[in-house]
């Protein structure tokens, strides 16, 4: 049973091993820096607790926002014919290729209070300020997470065989019922994978958050921002929080397993 394609040449194995070492070494290095004896105390420090609370709340809200905006987008991209399709697709992918800080500057241009296109209006008419607020964090995180969700959902929608929706229609299921009872269950794997990736991205966002929502402890200082700030004032706390973030990420990836690379285990 040793087919041609399953024999792995030695240099390929060595290359893969180097890749593993390249990725594993930083994680090991981080674990070495953690002061295990003070870990609990560091993680229950006020600034850290605030950061975790804000990160959790904002990332979940951002993921929901990404879903609300992303599902219709994915649907149209997957199933509708319309001119300007390529433009919309490029727009959806833009936050993925844009350096996060640039994304933050762009968000300021749109939603900033001072001279943002929409932000200025919101402020003068309703006194709403999106920057330097939790909403600012949510917007920044949703901005960078949206592409991940749309890509996953679009892929899922494309791969669904229309025959199931057709047979549901013949059996009397109207649009919404078809979507809820047939399309969504078929979409579940892509939906779950997309949500997890989007959430992970939102959780880890730094550049856009700090530029748009600022670095206000207890209000907009998310976990990544807290790590960055603590690196100077409290390195031990920074390492402790970093360890926690790594643990969460690993947990997420284990949860996803092979689903997001589209293979079976």
């Amino acid at each position: 049973m040793n087919s041609v394609s399953s024999r792995t040449p030695r240099f390929v194995r060595i290359g893969a091993l180097l890749g593993v070492v390249f990725l594993a070494l930083p994680v090991v290095g981080l674990l070495k820096r953690v002061a295990w004896s003070t870990l609990c105390r560091q993680l229950t420090d006020v600034a850290t607790r605030d950061a975790l609370r804000i990160s959790l709340y904002a990332s979940v809200c951002a993921t929901v926002l990404a879903l609300v905006l992303g599902l219709p987008l994915a649907w149209c991209l997957a199933r509708m014919q319309f001119s300007g399709r390529r433009f919309v697709r490029a727009l959806v992918l833009l936050p993925m290729v844009l350096p996060p800080v640039v994304g933050g500057v762009a968000l300021l241009g749109a939603y900033g209070k001072s001279n943002g296109l929409l932000g200025g209006l919101l402020n003068s008419l309703f006194g709403i300020q999106l920057t330097y607020s939790l909403w600012g964090v949510i917007i920044a995180e949703a901005f960078v997470a949206l592409p991940f969700l749309v890509l996953s959902l679009e892929g899922g929608l494309r791969s669904i065989d229309v025959k199931y929706e057709e047979s549901a229609a013949v059996m009397g299921a109207t649009d919404i019922t078809r979507f809820m009872r047939v399309t969504l269950p078929l979409l579940k794997p892509s939906l779950v994978a997309g949500l997890m990736l989007a959430w992970a991205r939102a959780l880890g966002e730094f550049g856009a958050t700090i530029t748009f929502a600022g670095n206000i402890q207890g209000r907009t200082q998310t976990a990544p921002l807290a790590v960055y700030t603590m690196l100077e004032s409290n390195p031990e706390g920074a390492y402790a929080l970093s360890f926690l973030l790594v643990a969460v990420s690993v947990g997420l990836l284990v949860g996803l397993r092979d689903r997001w690379i589209g293979g079976s285990s």
């Binding site: 057709e166 047979s167 549901a168 229609a169 013949v170 059996m171 109207t174």
Partner: protein
Amino acid sequence: MISLHGTVEVGSFSRGLSIDVGSEIVGMFGANGSGKTSVLRTIAGLCPLGEGELEIDGVTVDAPAKHLFVQPELRNIGMVFQDHSLFPFMTAVDNAAFPLQMRGMKRVAARKLAAEMLEQFGVANVALQMAPTLSGGQSQRVAIVRALIGSPSAVLLDEPLSAIDEESRESVRNQIREHLVRLGVSAIVVSHDRAELDHLCTRIENYTR
């Protein structure tokens, strides 16, 4: 009552067709790829007519000239698809109960009725199995139940016995005919097996190219 007079889109070309079905089981015989499935899909509302008119139970459901088209979900049709198209994420009984739930029946009652009918067709033993785990013959029987269960106005069957084993064919055929006669509806059966149609249908139309 099914009355179709017009043209049906088969792939990239149109095919003129005139068919009237009363309270009977009409068979359409033709080779694979001749467009028989397209005719069924048009009657079900999954494709529009090219031109002409389609009436079901006296109600015009498709008339391109008058810009009239009734969506499939409003046509009350039972259909057995060529590849069964059972929902892979549901059990056999939930699949069979689906049309009843779409007509408003509550889940528990629908499942009960579905289970009874599955028994009649000899697949009660797999009622709680997930659809992808069923054998070809089992899933085809579930598909047949699903098509007949909702008291449809018309029944369309696309190669309904292709996966059923030789010995069981006769009994399944009888079951189908019994149900159709009891419902008193118009039914169209499409098959490339002439003998099959002879046994099941009251009348046969030739649909060769």
